[in-house]
């Protein structure tokens, strides 16, 4: 009966697919390709209503096999993809985009550009929202390629400019590239999403032509529009832009403050801390202490000498001046139950001393002040420093012993 036939057909189709997957996962590309030729038959009677249709599977698997197979050529690949493009109209744009990526990976930039342009001019019936999005992506990537040729020509011009030549045709071409790139890039970054690469290129273009206001606005929008996913990179770009243009300290601080709120473990936090430490305002210096403490909470910062020396410097400053010990106390309160085990264990003292003496020095200073002169970490490191007869460790020991009262104050 027809039901049974369908059932059997489905079964053998599934079996065939699992053979293909098996062969691919064992890197037997030839075998996988052979099975795939059988699997193509499943297209004829495509009864399935599954989310992943056989035609998509054939496209994906075929691409994978042709990418990996040792004897496949670019020509074969292109002809396979052309067939795939016509197999399902709804997927045309997606296939084009991935085809362009593949060409780019193989260094065929002009061909990729052509593919994207062709895809852009494609029309079929009414556009769905998904197709709309895909079309935008295609345009954006074409914009990216335009940007690429723009920067290439820019470099040629700059080189020749040094030699005193001027080339009008190159310059004109460069400007037309700029226009094409700018239009497409501007479109995509209006859609909520993570568009780091596009934003960077667009800002670069704008900056080159001196349109700082527009660039600033784009970056602001990208960083602060709540429809976009919270993206730390957006704030980094904004900060870098502001820094490049010599903006006021205040705006730099506010940009970094938001980055600190989103990602307290970002590497820019060291810059932020240095900036705040230099500030004359008390509040800012307190924020600086908060920032560096928060950064050192993260496992990735455990052995960061720079960060430890920032903290050591600021703690030392506070202890010497004997003002604002309550800042340290406040930060220490929420950490005293786990920092000793996390940062200041004897095992770590031993390892830090062996691997990185200056890290051990900075940490020992902090440990000596926060945990007193009898803390495991300080004791071990200062003892080793004493044995090695190093002057700075002797000074460190004296300093800690002299200021041991701080430990009593903040732990009390």
């Amino acid at each position: 009966s027809s039901h049974e036939y369908k059932l059997n057909f489905r079964k053998s189709k599934e079996a065939c697919l699992s053979y293909i997957q098996d062969a691919m996962l064992q890197k037997q590309w030839k075998r996988a390709a052979e099975f795939l030729t059988f699997y193509v038959e499943s297209l004829e009677k495509d009864f399935s209503r599954e989310p992943v249709t056989p035609s998509e599977i054939i496209w994906r698997i075929g691409t994978e096999i042709l990418c990996r197979h040792s004897r496949s050529s670019m020509k074969e690949f292109n002809s396979f993809i052309e067939q795939m493009k016509t197999l399902r109209v709804k997927r045309y744009l997606k296939v084009c985009l991935e085809h362009a990526f593949h060409l780019l990976c193989n260094g065929l930039i002009d061909e990729a550009y052509q593919t994207l342009s062709l895809a852009e001019s494609w029309r079929f019936g009414e556009q769905t929202t998904i197709q709309d999005k895909e079309m935008k992506l295609i345009q954006a990537y074409r914009g990216l390629l335009d940007y690429y040729s723009w920067s290439k020509q820019k470099n040629i011009l700059l080189e020749r400019g040094q030699d005193g030549f001027e080339d009008l045709s190159v310059e004109q071409e460069m400007h037309s590239c700029f226009r094409k790139a700018a239009v497409n890039l501007k479109e995509i970054i209006k859609v909520p999403g993570v568009w780091d690469q596009f934003v960077k290129c667009y800002v670069d273009l704008l900056e080159f032509y001196g349109d700082h206001n527009e660039a600033h606005q784009v970056l602001n929008e990208y960083a602060y529009n709540s429809k976009f996913p919270a993206n730390p990179n957006a704030h980094v770009y904004l900060y870098e832009f502001l820094k490049r243009h010599g903006e006021s300290k205040k705006s730099l601080v506010s940009a970094l403050k938001i980055l600190h709120d989103i990602v307290p473990s970002h590497e820019l936090m060291i810059d932020f801390n240095t900036m705040l430490q230099k500030s004359k305002k008390r509040k800012k210096r307190q924020l600086g202490l908060e920032v560096i403490f928060a950064a050192l909470d993260y496992a990735g910062w455990k052995e960061n000498v720079k960060a430890w020396s920032c903290l050591a410097r600021q703690v030392k400053q506070i202890v010497v001046s004997e003002k604002h010990l309550d800042w340290i106390k406040q930060e220490w309160n929420s950490r005293k139950d786990w920092w000793p085990a996390f940062h200041f264990s004897r095992y770590l003292a031993k390892r830090n001393w062996q691997e990185n003496e200056s890290l051990a020095y900075e940490k020992a200073l902090v440990a000596g002040i926060l945990l007193g002169k009898d803390g495991k970490y300080f004791k071990y490191v200062s003892h080793q420093g004493y044995k090695a007869q190093m002057k700075r460790f002797r000074i460190l020991k004296k300093f800690v012993i002299k200021h041991n009262f701080v430990y009593l104050r903040i732990s009390g």
Binding site: M24, K133, W195, D196, N233, V263, H266, A299
Partner: protein
């Protein structure tokens, strides 16, 4: 559950009748008064008799115990009066559980095998931690020397636990390994000193009322673990400070899902935990769990998930990059960065036939790829996946439409994923066996996988990865992947080309697995040894132990045992329903028409027949009151009837 009904619910099974009949049982030691003898049984004598029986276990000379038989005969009318509604509920619950387990058993999530690598460079002796024994309730710590063929050294340190071990998790903090062990109702933690030769010490055990579904060990702080239970509670467990409950929410986080499975893992910040259920992941600050949390991953559009996609196993990838997490679903694997949550940095459809319940990360050094192993339980699938992440710098995420779920990002797969050999695959490399032995072997090797671990072995320039796999039968298998330098003509391939032979670690029931071509002679030898041990173990016919038996023949009359003449229409109907339910994969809830009416349990229906009213009353424990009422209402009724009659007579 059903088999243990009388043991698990003695109150329900015997309580009411016990209360009704307690006057007729005598629990003292002295002789009974003659006047009471005809209505009272002396229980102590009965107990003595039963003890005697126990003592005579194994004695072929069965002596009849008339008193016991007599008692059984007396009791058989009421002993099995189990309330049907209750029984049906229990049966239903049990069947549902079995059905869900058949479809997908998530209790071994995380895997019960851990490798504790050697401390310090140059050391070659690590430890393998795994469960064993008939009920998988023995925990073994086995020293293993990594050589060409890894081999067990000495006998393992052994601990007997009182539950089946579902998960073994381990992490190294400050040169010491902390090993967490999860069984259904108990979680324990052991400390293993870094230097070999020192015995592991158990630190603490906690008991849970609801089965625990997750136990992870902190890579940051010594003696800290995260525990989740199926009731939706998440705990931070510190060996010194005890338990801290962070969340208790039986509901799932993002949308409704029935699974009680919960998971929790650590993140880059030692005070922040990730919490997962089937719908996604959230990060919680343990210092203020109510206020401070953010969503890390959600099954939905942002990650380009398919319909019906669910989280199967999250894993913190801290050893590769401090802020990366792995999330596996039944269709795909995702790599997430907690600094840019919700948008996966890498997505790849793994095409595994069963959901990956085990995952293991072997970090690659600078410039090398990170090696991820994924393992499934039922199908024993094992997949090696390599990816590169631009570490240290958060930057250059390629533009991806979040909804399009593209896979271009800072993370990138390195080379095609690779399938490794499954345990069952080594059957073909074993010497030919007698058919029944072959079947036995097939069964043994086909047991679902229960855990996964890997050890990186650097032997001069030759680097290799030893992959250990544990089966539910308690065998540990091992295969070796050797690194081959990238060949210039292959432009995009990964840096870890793998293949050749696959040797193993040995212990009581531990052996070697398969190789693509031929197992090495040493591996073959070990196979042979294992086979011998296995067949010896199976050859022992199980000692027949004599149990005291009571013949049932005299307990029931022949008439009782007679089978009904043929299946009634009722049977027919029920059978049909069952069949239909099985076809549809749904569960047959209490067949409404067919089942005999269960006793009304809760609300004592007024006006019900006197027997059930009486039973209900005794069920609730206030039988005496009922009797009082009954007798007094009886008096009142009689009086009323009398008055009525008098009135009629007067007319």
């Amino acid at each position: 559950q059903l088999g243990h009904f009388f043991v698990d619910h003695p109150e329900d099974a015997f309580g009411s009748l016990g209360r009704l009949l307690h006057q007729n049982f005598y629990l003292g030691n002295s002789k009974l008064k003659v006047s009471l003898r005809h209505s009272t049984i002396r229980m102590t004598a009965l107990m003595e008799e039963i003890d005697c029986l126990e003592a005579r276990r194994g004695c072929p000379q069965q002596r009849q115990a008339p008193r016991l038989r007599w008692f059984s005969h007396l009791c058989r009318d009421w002993l099995y009066e189990v309330p049907l509604a209750l029984l049906a509920d229990c049966a239903h619950e049990e069947l549902l559980l079995h059905w869900a387990n058949l479809l997908f058993d998530d209790s071994p999530t995380g895997g019960a095998l851990a490798w504790l690598p050697p401390e310090g460079t140059g050391a070659r002796t690590g430890r393998l931690v795994y469960p064993g024994g008939q009920a998988m309730n023995h925990l073994y710590f086995q020293d293993v020397v990594l050589d060409e063929l890894p081999r067990a050294r000495g006998s393992p340190a052994q601990f007997e636990l009182n539950g089946r071990i579902q998960q073994v998790a381990a992490a190294r903090v400050d040169g010491e390994d902390f090993v967490g062990v999860r069984s259904d109702y108990h979680c324990g933690v052991w400390r293993v000193p870094g230097r070999t030769g020192l015995a592991p010490t158990p630190l603490q055990v906690i008991r849970t009322d609801v089965p625990a579904s997750c136990l992870t060990v902190s890579p940051h702080l010594p003696g800290e673990l995260a525990v989740c239970t199926q009731s939706g509670a998440v705990y931070l467990w510190n060996v010194e400070m005890g338990l801290q409950r962070l969340r208790h929410d039986p509901q799932t986080m993002f949308f409704r899902d029935d699974s009680p499975w919960r998971w929790s893992d650590f993140t880059a910040h030692p005070r922040v935990l990730s919490c997962a259920d089937r719908t996604g992941l959230q990060c919680l600050d343990t210092r203020a769990p109510e206020r401070c949390h953010f969503d890390l991953f959600k099954v939905g559009e942002e990650a380009g998930c398919q319909r019906g996609e669910r989280v199967v196993l999250p894993l913190y990838l801290g050893r590769a990059h401090p802020s990366q997490h792995l999330v596996t679903t039944q269709f795909s694997v995702y790599v997430l960065d907690e600094r840019l949550p919700m948008v996966p940095a890498l997505k790849w459809a793994h095409m595994m036939k069963a959901p990956p319940l085990f995952a293991h990360l072997t970090p690659g050094g600078p410039g090398r790829s990170q090696k991820l192993l994924l393992g499934a339980s039922r199908t024993q699938e094992l997949l090696l996946l390599q990816y590169r992440g631009k570490s240290a710098h958060l930057g250059r995420f390629w533009a991806v439409l979040p909804s399009a779920g593209g896979s271009c990002s800072a993370c990138q797969l390195a080379g095609p994923p690779q399938k490794l050999h499954s345990i069952a695959g080594c059957l073909q490399h074993l010497p030919a066996q007698l058919p029944h032995r072959h079947r036995l072997l097939q069964q043994r090797l086909g047991a679902p996988a229960a855990g996964l671990a890997a050890a990186l072995l650097e032997n001069g320039l030759r680097e290799s990865l030893l992959v250990f796999q544990l089966s539910e039968a308690g065998d540990v298998f091992c295969q070796r992947l050797t690194h081959e330098a990238e060949q210039p003509p292959a432009p995009t391939s990964g840096d870890e080309a793998t293949q050749p032979p696959a040797p193993t670690s040995g212990d009581e029931a531990t052996q070697t697995p398969p190789s693509p071509a031929v197992p090495s002679p040493a591996a073959a030898l070990r196979y042979r040894r294992w086979l011998k041990a296995l067949s010896k173990g199976c050859g022992e016919s199980p000692q027949h132990s004599w149990r005291p038996t009571l013949s049932q023949r005299r307990l029931f009359t022949r008439k009782d045992l007679e089978t009904p003449p043929g299946p009634s229409t009722l049977h027919h109907e029920a059978r049909q329903r069952l069949r239909q339910a099985m076809r549809e994969g749904s569960c047959a809830r209490r067949w409404d028409t067919a089942a005999p009416q269960p006793l009304p349990l809760e609300p004592p229906v007024t006006g019900a027949d006197p027997l059930s009213a009486r039973l209900t009353a005794s069920w609730l424990g206030d039988w005496w009151q009922w009797w009082e009422e009954r007798s007094s209402s009886g008096v009142a009724r009689r009086q009323r009837a009398l008055r009525e009659r008098r009135r009629q007579q007067k007319r």
